[in-house]
């Protein structure tokens, strides 16, 4: 039609925020709370949603996704909890070391890739480590709406169990916590067998845990649609490589500590994205020509697509080899 054509920008809409609280929870995890810089209430969000936090790290823009873990009915604040990754590319370290109360930054509107299935008669949550965060918002929401839920939460140790004590205290009959160092683990088979018809299972945690839940539910005859998972992948560092972007007509270098998507953005290419964690599919890019090996790390493309080398997800995947030409 074109009543008033506008170019669609990459990524979700943005909100300027001010850090209102920084609360270390334990040795590894810190909670950051935001208030809107314009004093307005935040938009409501659906539990399971994440936001992309934009950080200015000495001139370099970092865009990291984090699950919103505050109560969705509290529009005065958004909160995230961040686990420090000493071997990552430095985004979480930057937050832990350099961000303090009063700092201003930009976050995106909420985007939900891990929603509750509202048809569920009961919601069974399985959390591993920092994977607890989306469940914090889901629990607050279901408590308000009167929905049935149960949480099984696996942590390394009592000292590293973020929110474990708080949850156990508030919901003693609905929360079970397991500590690795005490050789405790979720008795998944028993747990699944005892669930009422219409239960939906949600898992958020390390890849091994997600795979375990998917294979166990599948072998017990659970419908695929009743099992939900979310794993954010942080882009991993890797050997630098070179890419020719043919639509943009430029050759760019991808550094050791940046993703292909970040390298495109640094070069001024407006590439589409949403989750920046290999899950949403927005940044999918066609490969025109390649001579080398792809290091696919996303959850979006299927095994065939990973094998045939015709597509790449530049938010998390890399390349090693002689030459790579992309349709971007």
């Amino acid at each position: 039609m074109s009543a008033a054509p506008q170019k669609v920008r990459a990524g979700a809409e943005k909100i300027d925020v001010t850090i209102s609280a920084v609360t270390p929870l334990n040795e590894l995890v810190t909670r950051f709370e935001f208030a809107r810089s314009d004093g307005e209430p935040f938009p409501p969000f659906s539990p399971g949603a994440h936001t992309i936090v934009e950080l200015n790290d000495g001139g370099r823009t970092r865009l990291n996704p984090y699950s919103l873990m505050s109560d969705p009915s509290d529009l005065s604040t958004y909160a995230i909890s961040v686990r420090r990754d000493d071997h990552g590319r430095g985004g979480s370290l930057f937050l832990h070391r350099n961000v303090s109360v009063g700092d201003e930054l930009t976050i995106t509107y909420p985007v939900n890739l891990f929603p509750l299935d509202l048809r569920g008669k009961k919601h069974l949550f399985l959390a591993g480590g920092i994977g607890i965060t989306p469940f914090m918002a889901m629990i607050a929401h279901l408590e308000r709406m009167g929905g049935a839920w149960e949480l099984h939460y696996s942590c390394r140790s009592r000292a590293l169990g973020s929110y474990a004590d708080e949850l156990k205290k508030r919901y003693p009959s609905k929360v079970q916590v397991y500590f690795d160092d005490q050789a405790q683990s979720i008795a998944l088979e028993n747990l699944l067998n005892g669930q009422p018809l219409g239960t939906h299972v949600y898992v958020c945690g390390p890849k091994g845990m997600i795979d375990w839940v998917h294979s166990m539910t599948a072998s017990h005859g659970w419908p695929e649609e009743n099992v939900h998972s979310e794993e954010f992948l942080a882009p991993q560092p890797g050997k630098p490589f070179e890419v020719w972007l043919c639509k943009s007509d430029m050759l760019i270098q991808v550094g050791e500590n940046e993703s292909l998507l970040e390298a495109m953005e640094r070069s001024g290419v407006d590439a589409p994205f949403l989750c920046r964690g290999g899950a949403c599919g927005q940044c999918e890019t066609n490969v025109i020509e390649s001579e080398g090996e792809f290091l696919h790390r996303d959850h979006w493309l299927d095994d065939d697509e990973h094998a045939n080398g015709k597509k790449i997800m530049p938010c998390v995947s890399r390349f090693v080899g002689k030459s790579l030409i992309l349709d971007r």
């Binding site: 008033a4 979700a12 809409e13 938009p43 509107y109 509202l118």
Partner: protein, 355 residues
């Protein structure tokens, strides 16, 4: 501006009419002299002042009469409004979205006063002043979706999003172009689009679904669709086909200018924040051929579009039988002059009819 609401009917004596203001702001859907399907989406972030694209939910001179017509349809057939049990939260999302948008965009017509969960809603044109508790259904006379869509023009499809698919799980549908919510309820995106010709082969629906699944909070989108309707009927439903289908045979060369209407749907898409559902408002605008041809550019262009439209589309849109008569009429308003690009009337630059 203050809107003067028409007293008019969309049935029986058909007193529906467009003022000069409504004619000039009509959402003419053809940006060039031909038409083919496309996903044709753009962002819904306002538009030129006074246009139907300016506000999130356009209110015009037909508002009060359209809401009266909706009440008549619902009284006869309550199944035009349905909401599966898991969609109640999305209904509250929609109620909030419409109340906030209407009170901000038309403060002289609507007011919303919020004190925690106690909300007071004032709708001056419909003389409504209700106080209720947000998220408590027992405090409203209807469910939240039905309550607010009895006060908002256009049809409303509320789509659940799960398993990378959209599901027609709730809606208020009384002004539709020959489809039925009662038939489509619970269907997925590909199922309810199955009857549309050509577009599947063109891969339109796959691309459209991918686009819609990725519509995010704070970034609504819009597109136009169109068809033809004889007499200014809002309710052209399959349920009532026996009443309106036969009216297509009443067209004569004498009455076609007054009876034949171009029907345009302004379709918008909003992500709902609490439920993560997608709402798909379909707002219907009608214009009689005799009013449309008062805009010289539109008269020229409509003739060319209808003349060159593939038969499959003219059949699907239900006017293949009347197309020759339509072309006889419209050709009188096409002098063969070039038309300016885009959808706007361009009254200042387009020449008067040269014949």
């Amino acid at each position: 501006m203050t809107i003067q609401f028409n007293k008019e009917s969309f049935r029986g004596d058909y007193t529906f009419h467009n003022s000069d203001w409504a004619i000039q702001r009509f959402p003419f859907p053809f940006h060039e002299d031909s038409y083919m399907y496309s996903v044709n989406m753009e962002q819904h972030r306002g538009g030129p002042e006074g246009s139907v694209y300016e506000k999130r939910f356009d209110v015009d001179e037909h508002y009060v009469s359209e809401m009266h017509d909706r009440a008549l349809v619902l009284a006869e057939d309550p199944l035009r409004c349905q909401s599966l049990p898991h969609m109640t939260l999305a209904g509250w999302d929609l109620l909030e979205l419409i109340m906030v948008a209407k009170s901000e965009d038309y403060p002289e017509l609507f007011e919303l006063h919020r004190n925690g969960d106690t909300w007071r809603w004032v709708n001056k044109p419909m003389e409504i002043d209700d106080t209720f508790t947000f998220l408590d259904e027992t405090t409203l006379p209807y469910g939240p979706m039905e309550y607010i869509t009895r006060q908002a023009q256009g049809d409303w499809c509320v789509l659940d999003q799960r398993d990378d698919m959209l599901w027609m799980d709730a809606g208020m549908v009384t002004t539709q172009a020959d489809w039925s919510l009662d038939f489509d309820i619970g269907m997925n995106f590909f199922e309810w689009h199955a009857p549309v010709p050509l577009a599947h082969e063109m891969g339109i629906f796959k691309r459209a679904l991918k686009f819609l699944l990725n519509i995010q909070q704070g970034a609504p989108a819009r597109r136009l669709n169109w068809t033809m309707t004889v007499n200014p009927l809002l309710d052209t439903s399959p349920e009532n086909y026996h009443k309106w289908g036969v009216q297509k045979t009443t067209l004569t060369p004498k009455n076609i200018g007054a009876k034949q209407h171009l029907r345009v749907e302004l379709q918008t898409f909003f992500r709902l924040p609490r439920s993560n559902a997608l709402v798909f408002p379909i707002r219907c605008y009608l214009i009689a051929f005799q009013d449309l041809v008062t805009i010289p550019k539109w008269g020229r262009r409509l003739h060319r579009v209808i003349r060159d439209l593939p038969d499959e589309l003219a059949t699907y849109k239900g006017f293949i039988a009347n197309r020759p008569m339509m072309l006889d009429y419209l050709s009188r308003y096409d002098d063969g002059l070039a038309t300016s690009p885009g959808v706007w009337p361009d009254l200042e630059i387009e020449p008067e009819l040269q014949k």
